[in-house]
């Protein structure tokens, strides 16, 4: 076994240091108390010297032990293990579904994609899994993803499904911004690897409509699949025949199966639904002396399968132990769909052992399910209807927020390098967003802060700009509900930041204005002035405002904030390079200023800011007529952005480089522009410029590029567009009218 790296050991040791007021107080009281006791003891006795090692031992060991104990009580849960990539094990005995399985296999072999559609409880997944095993018996070539999301009633968005699919196939999902790009990548991966892909529990067709279709790929999708078009020819999974249902019931009842041999008074129609059969089997196993007839009377009065299921489950829930009942009640009424068992234990206030025992009981009674990760658990559908919410529901919800916030905080500090932290966020990011949505007055603003910050870090490292915007908006809404002005301003600033990155300038401007209004002028943080400067720099409405706001930003920075000063200088450089009339003296000033930032030593300035300065300095070189220097600068800046983990910056520099070669080396320019565009978001000025020059260089696909370019120029709503945006738009439209 490899020993843990020294840095981690040190970090573990350091984790024993107090981190909060409460822990500091405990440590101080413990140390102070021990020292005082030691002094007292010396006065009272002459035996101190003999007992010295004991006192030393106590003073050195007790505070860390106390802190460790405290920390353990509030420690974030472990990292969820990676869900297995292979298909789940096939059902031991799949009754009455042979024809459906055969159809699925045939459909995949003919078209590359089979859609298995059926309501919950009918065994849709079981059919898809059996067919997938038949298509690919080698586990090394199996790939599986369960699309049940964290958010009840809100299916996972298609882009998120696409990213998840890419992750399952071993591809880097972060930088993919469009479904078309994802489809191409998935198709390539499946073709070259020979993997068979099974996407289970798909709620809506739109979640998987983007999947590639080709004979060389093998994909099975299964689930409710609402809205599947007829031309996709889904394979429906209907009810079982009554005989098959009875056979399934007989196969599942292990305790006293003789009860089923007599004349069966159970309404036959209930036997057509496999999940009802399995639940009745669990009830019979729990009640070895009961007979089916004992249920029949009550079930006959139920109009629908759901009612029948709820009735049997309610009966099952009546005989549960207090721990199991508490756990079911908590789990069924949590705002999130599934949760790690450790978190559930803390939220429910039970020990880990009691929780484990209770979960086993609930699993045996078909009242909870395990998703693919064995450390996680979810209540069955409709569980909220059969058990009452816990009496302390508000406290449980707060505890869940606190637990998730602590875990998110701890894991976000390990991003982006730590694989475990990435896995944790991949499993929980939807739950975190849901907690932000559900934060009601009375919730802890501190938890909301931490969750918002952790999500910002996670989405930022994944370069998921739209998700960043979504998280920031939810944080802003939560902060408004909790009346936390500072959190609200941070969220608005983030919205503005993403808005500017995506070219949604009108929205960015509104967010900045809202942030300004929510705090008195004295309390405006420096970032607010910077955001306003950035908006005005983009709109070019009034460049004197940019200058003034940048000055305010610099003044508001805390003393010694080298990073902040560097950011201010980069923006002053950008200001000097903006505007219509550019004189060479301004450009030279910008060149000098940006050069100083780019060359700044030490770790005070982050690499991304230095890369940005290098990018703009290269632009200054270009404006001064030094083309070679400019290209070298952009190459250098692109490499710096790559090292800094900023693909958008890298894409921008690649587009600059491609643009600079449009006149001299068309082929290389087109290659660079394509490469750069792939790293940029769908919207924004750099994307529009990449499309503009691609349209010029590639007349065959000019229309496509022009359309994408115009779409990248998002309307600025109530903010008037500056001339350079109009210029880009005009050039794009001119290209569209030129016959190719």
């Amino acid at each position: 076994m490899t020993p843990p790296p020294r840095r981690r050991r040190v970090t573990r040791l350091l984790s024993l240091l107090p981190q909060s007021r409460r822990e500091s107080l405990v440590a101080a009281v413990t140390v102070g108390g021990l020292v005082a006791t030691a002094l007292l003891k010396e006065i009272l006795t002459d035996l101190a010297l003999e007992l010295l090692p004991l006192w030393i031992l106590l003073i050195v060991t007790v505070p860390p032990v106390v802190i460790f104990w405290l920390r353990r009580r509030h420690a974030p849960g472990g990292v969820p293990e990676s869900p297995p990539l292979t298909f789940p094990p096939p059902a031991e005995r799949l009754v009455g579904r042979d024809e459906a399985v055969r159809q699925v296999v045939h459909r995949v072999e003919a078209r590359g994609l089979a859609v298995v559609q059926g309501s919950k409880g009918l065994g849709t997944s079981a059919v898809a899994i059996a067919a997938a095993w038949e298509l690919e018996p080698h586990t090394a070539r199996q790939r599986y993803a369960d699309l049940r999301g964290q958010d009840r009633g809100r299916p996972e968005p298609a882009l998120s499904v696409a990213r998840r699919t890419l992750g399952v196939l071993g591809l880097q999902p972060g930088a993919v911004e469009t479904l078309d790009a994802a489809a191409a990548l998935v198709g390539d991966a499946l073709r070259t690897s020979g993997h068979t892909l099974l996407l289970d529990n798909v709620q809506e067709w739109t979640q998987v409509a983007w999947l590639p279709r080709a004979p060389a790929v093998r994909i099975v999708v299964a689930g409710l699949l609402d809205g599947t078009p007829v031309e996709e020819d889904p394979i429906p999974i209907g009810s079982l025949s009554e005989e098959d249902g009875l056979a399934l019931l007989r196969a599942k009842v292990t305790e006293n199966p003789g009860r089923l041999t007599s004349a069966d008074p159970l309404p036959r129609s209930f036997l057509r639904n496999p999940v009802i059969v399995l639940t009745i089997a669990a009830w019979l196993d729990r009640n070895a002396t009961m007979r089916v007839a004992d249920l029949a009377g009550e079930l006959r009065a139920r109009p629908s399968d759901a009612d029948v299921l709820a009735t049997v489950r309610r009966r099952l829930s009546h005989g549960l132990s207090p721990h199991a009942a508490r756990l079911l009640s908590v789990l069924a009424h949590l705002p999130v769909e599934e949760v790690a068992t450790g978190t559930l234990a803390r939220v429910a206030g039970l020990s880990e052992r009691d929780t484990g025992d209770a979960i086993r009981v609930l699993l045996d009674n078909c009242l909870v399910e395990r998703p693919r990760s064995p450390s996680r658990v979810r209540a069955v559908d409709g569980a909220a209807l059969i058990v009452d919410p816990p009496r302390d529901r508000a406290a449980v919800t707060r505890a869940l927020a606190g637990q998730l916030a602590a875990q998110a905080d701890a894991h976000s500090r390990r991003l982006p390098e730590d694989e475990g932290a990435r896995r944790w966020f991949a499993a929980e990011d939807t739950a975190l967003l849901k907690v932000l949505d559900d934060a009601a007055p009375g919730a802890s603003a501190y938890d909301v802060w931490r969750i918002g910050d952790a999500l910002e870090t996670w989405f930022n490292t994944q370069h998921r700009q739209t998700d960043r915007l979504d998280a920031a908006r939810r944080l802003a809404a939560a902060a408004r509900r909790l009346k936390d002005r500072e959190a609200s301003v941070v969220a608005e600033l983030r919205c503005a930041d993403v808005g500017l990155a995506l070219g949604v300038v009108g929205s960015a401007s509104r967010h900045v204005a809202r942030a300004f209004e929510s705090l008195p002028a004295k309390a405006h943080p420096p970032q607010l002035h910077l955001a306003r400067a950035a908006v005005h720099l983009t709109t070019q409405e009034d460049l004197t405002v940019v200058e003034a706001e940048l000055a305010r930003y610099r003044q508001a920075l805390p003393s010694g904030d080298v990073q902040g000063l560097a950011v201010a200088r980069v923006n002053i450089g950008a200001l000097l390079l903006s505007g219509d009339a550019l004189d060479s003296r301004r450009v030279q000033d910008a060149h000098r200023l940006l050069g100083a930032v780019a060359a700044s030593a030490g770790d005070g300035v982050d690499p991304g800011t230095k890369a940005h300065a290098t990018e703009l300095r290269a632009l200054a070189d270009w404006r001064l007529g030094k083309e070679q220097e400019a290209r070298a600068g952009w190459r250098r800046a692109a490499a710096m952005f790559r090292r800094a983990g900023e693909p958008v910056g890298e894409g921008r520099c690649t587009v600059h480089l491609g643009t600079s070669l449009v006149a001299s080396d068309a082929a290389e320019a087109a290659r660079l522009l394509r490469a750069g565009r792939a790293r940029l978001p769908r919207t924004g000025v750099p994307t529009a410029l990449a499309c503009l020059y691609l349209a010029r260089l590639d007349p065959g696909q000019a229309d496509e590029h022009v359309t994408a370019g115009l779409a990248a120029l998002v309307p600025w709503d109530d903010v008037s567009e500056p001339p350079y945006i109009g210029d880009i738009r005009r050039r794009l439209e001119e290209l569209a009218t030129i016959p190719s």
């Binding site: 030393i56 910050d453 941070v490 420096p526 805390p558 600059h656 600079s660 350079y724």
Partner: protein, 572 residues
């Protein structure tokens, strides 16, 4: 359209950090972090010092009687001579730091180790070593072979011995500080100097010396305080017959303690504090004026460890020579300890025969062994307490929202308290702790309080050099950045712990003033042995080697951390 100029996007840079100015802890949180350290320093240093001052003022004639006494001026003059030694050590440290820039990495490490080892052995061992080399009996001393009897330890020449012992011990510290300071001189400054300043001297005068002033002030402060506190070296290295001629104020206070007129002892204690405290505050004031604001040091490119030229042959040879010279006393001590006790007493290092008889002799009566455990446990306890108190205090002074002016005041106070000599607080402390001092905790608290101000200053500087992004995020959340700051500056914390442990291990004066005659401290045992220097050179050398081995091993084992820690600690 083909002729239209190419368009490029000019993208502004955002600052995604959460606003760092918000903290829910308020301005009093800083004082909360400082409180434990302030409580200990007040109880152990400030209150006894105040009592000393009050006691000295109760007798209006005390100061006049003291300064008009005939035997007062000689120790004062001698103290000035010690300050001269401090200047020599600093100059030598600077010279060696300049020299070390031009040699390769391995030789630089050897030179650093050779210069650092003397700094961490107890001053007693330094005194004993130099006395072994310059022993006045020609058949024993290393240098006395061809000399006239009594030549080297005559009353005048004794200063040579003392000076060399001090310079040998403290040049290493000055060297380390200057090496770091030279590394931090801005590269562009040197490039400009090379272009505009003609000649090496003008370059040094116009650029190097002004740029080095803050570093020189730090080095000067440390070495100056050591010089004003000179006590053990004089006590052990100078034969009893001529000790009164080389007395320093600290020693004079100790010798005359019982014969002073009322208030006179306290008045001298106050003077002993005021001299280095004034020097420290002056240096601190200059330091504040000359230093750029935190975070702006480093500028555009450090000069790096090596100069622009490659390693020079002359520099390499000189460095090797210096390393050899600096290691010679250690070798003499080691060789003497390996001689037969009788032979060592007669002929010193040049005696015939090897063996561990001197070690056996040193350990025979058990007093040395008995003192090892209490000394070690006390050192460990002090290291732990200093870290527990100094780390929160330094954090309180940096990122806990304390007002800048209040922080500056605390720093100035800490600098003044760092210079307090044990003599200035010993009498009231001894009176209050009379019944406690036999116990290890009380004495450890005294040691802790004496190390604490310097530890806080060192850690504060180290914490201030933590990159802003590390602290911004937790602070913006209204959360403490304590753990992240400590994690980022762990080497400085380790350095402080090691320095505290070494200080306590080597201490003689506190034990002598507060714990005498309970000889449960290693330096006390050695000092008692040193009273019979003429007959016990071998065992004394063996004890010095054993006592010195602990801090040397500790420092060498944590060398990488210490280098980083000192770099972070003197980085401003």
């Amino acid at each position: 359209m083909r002729d239209e100029p190419l368009l490029f996007a000019v993208t502004p840079r955002m600052d995604p950090r959460a606003p760092a100015t918000w903290s829910s802890h308020g301005r009093w949180a800083g004082w909360g972090y400082l409180l434990p350290a302030v409580a200990v320093m007040t109880a152990v240093l400030v209150a006894p010092l105040a009592m000393t001052v009050i006691e000295s003022l109760r007798f209006p004639d005390a100061y006049r009687t003291l300064v008009t006494a005939a035997d007062f001026w000689l120790p004062l003059r001698n103290n000035l001579i010690w300050m001269g030694f401090a200047l020599v050590a600093c100059a030598l440290g600077l010279g060696l730091a300049l020299l070390a820039r031009d040699v390769g990495g391995r030789l630089r490490r050897v030179l650093t180790a050779a210069l650092t080892v003397p700094a961490v052995v107890t001053p007693l061992a330094a005194g004993i070593t130099l006395r072994l080399i310059f022993d006045f009996r020609p058949e024993r001393g290393l240098t006395g072979g061809g000399a006239r009897e009594g030549y080297l330890l005559g009353p005048g020449w004794i200063w040579l011995l003392l000076g060399m012992a001090f310079v040998w011990q403290w040049t290493g510290v000055a060297f380390l500080v200057f090496r770091e300071g030279l590394g931090r001189i801005r590269g562009d400054l040197l490039r400009v100097a090379r272009v505009f300043a003609p000649g090496r001297w003008s370059r040094a005068r116009l650029v190097l010396i002004p740029a080095l002033f803050p570093t020189a002030a730090v080095a000067g402060l440390i070495v100056l305080i050591a010089a004003t506190r000179a006590f053990e070296i004089v006590l052990v290295a100078v034969p009893g017959s001529i000790q009164d001629q080389v007395d320093v104020l600290g020693l004079y206070w100790w010798r005359q303690s019982d014969v002073f007129a009322p208030g006179e002892r306290e008045a001298l204690g106050v003077l002993l504090f005021l001299i280095p405290a004034t020097a420290a505050l002056l240096l601190l004031w200059r330091l504040r004026r000359d230093l750029p604001p935190p975070g702006e040091t480093g500028g555009t490119g450090r000069t790096g460890e090596t100069g622009a030229r490659g390693p020079g042959r002359v520099a390499r040879a000189a460095s090797a020579l210096v390393a050899a010279v600096w290691l010679t006393p250690i070798a003499v001590l080691l060789l003497t300890s390996l001689r037969d006790p009788v032979g060592a007493a007669r002929s010193g290092v040049r005696a015939a025969g090897h063996g561990f008889a001197s070690y056996a002799e040193a350990l025979r009566d058990g007093s040395f062994l008995d003192a090892l455990t209490p000394t070690a446990t006390r050192s460990l306890l002090v290291a732990v307490l200093v870290v527990l108190l100094a780390v929160p205090a330094a954090y309180g002074l940096t990122y806990a929202g304390m007002r800048r002016r209040a922080g500056a005041l605390v720093v100035a106070l800490a600098a003044a308290l760092a210079t307090i000599p044990p003599q200035a607080v010993a009498v009231p402390l001894g009176r209050v702790t009379d019944r406690l001092v036999g116990g290890p905790v009380t004495l450890s608290l005294v040691h802790t309080a004496l190390v604490l101000p310097l530890a806080v200053l060192l850690l504060r500087n180290a914490f201030l050099s933590v990159p802003r992004p590390v602290v911004d995020r937790p602070l913006a959340q209204g959360h403490s950045a304590f753990r992240w700051v400590v994690e980022a500056r762990l080497p400085a914390v380790v350095t402080v712990a090691v320095l505290a442990a070494v200080f306590t291990w080597n201490d003689l004066i506190v034990s002598l003033l507060l714990n005498w005659p309970a000889a449960d401290q290693v330096p006390l045992v050695i000092w008692q042995q040193a009273r019979e220097f003429a007959t016990s050179a071998g065992p004394l050398a063996a004890e010095s080697v054993m006592a010195g081995a602990v801090p040397v091993v500790l420092v060498l084992a944590t060398g990488r951390w210490l280098t980083q820690g000192l770099t972070q600690g003197v980085a401003r």
